[in-house]
Amino acid sequence: EDQVTQSPEALRLQEGESSSLNCSYTVSGLRGLFWYRQDPGKGPEFLFTLYSAGEEKEKERLKATLTKKESFLHITAPKPEDSATYLCAVQVGYNKLIFGAGTRLAVHP
């Protein structure tokens, strides 16, 4: 069965304290791995797509990496505005995304 597991469920950081979020997956035929950010009361906002092991993408303080079994979202020197829930999803088939439960990140000044 296709499965996506994110850890930790919640993470509290001090401003400037770098850390990583994990997304591990077991799927038959990965076509892509997606990271989204979701703010309270809003829809998920696209961050990155990764297609093959070894691939890396960066955007401001965020960097996503991919291996054959997991992906990491590294947050460097986070700011309070980075507080959100970060969702990982894997593409199976042509269009279907399976989402993980998310990691709730809180960055305190």
Binding site: K42, G43, P44, Q91, Y94, N95, I98
Partner: protein
């Protein structure tokens, strides 16, 4: 600024009533998705369309849920009759797919449904 729009944003109804949620995908996108998000289950895919044709609705309770795309600018999700367990946030997303390759999905703001 192209974005997915959804109406209504909030809906409170009583058990047994019909609920219709509407979505306007981003112009030019050929795939439309309906998701449901709850604290317990997270984000679940209910159904999706490509070029207005339903491709997969296996995530949807067939006896009470139905999804349609009357035209390229409108997707609807209907629940009849509604039940308290249907209370959730329903998201619509759209994207551009050429079949083999796949691009990101853009989500709307969601419809928060409460069934009393």
């Amino acid at each position: 600024d192209a974005r997915v729009t959804q109406t209504p944003r909030h809906k409170v109804t009583e058990m047994g009533q019909e609920v219709t949620m509407r979505c306007q995908p981003i112009l030019g996108h050929n795939t439309v998705f309906w998701y449901r998000q709850t604290m317990m289950q997270g984000l679940e895919l209910l159904a999706y369309f490509r070029n207005r044709a339903p491709l997969d609705d296996s995530g949807m309770p067939k006896d009470r849920f139905s999804a349609e795309m009357p035209d390229a600018t409108l997707a609807t999700l209907k629940i009849q009759p509604s039940e308290p367990r249907d209370s959730a946030v329903y998201f619509c997303a759209s994207g551009l797919s050429s079949g083999v390759s796949y691009n990101e999905q853009f989500f709307g703001p969601g419809t928060r449904l409460t069934v009393l």
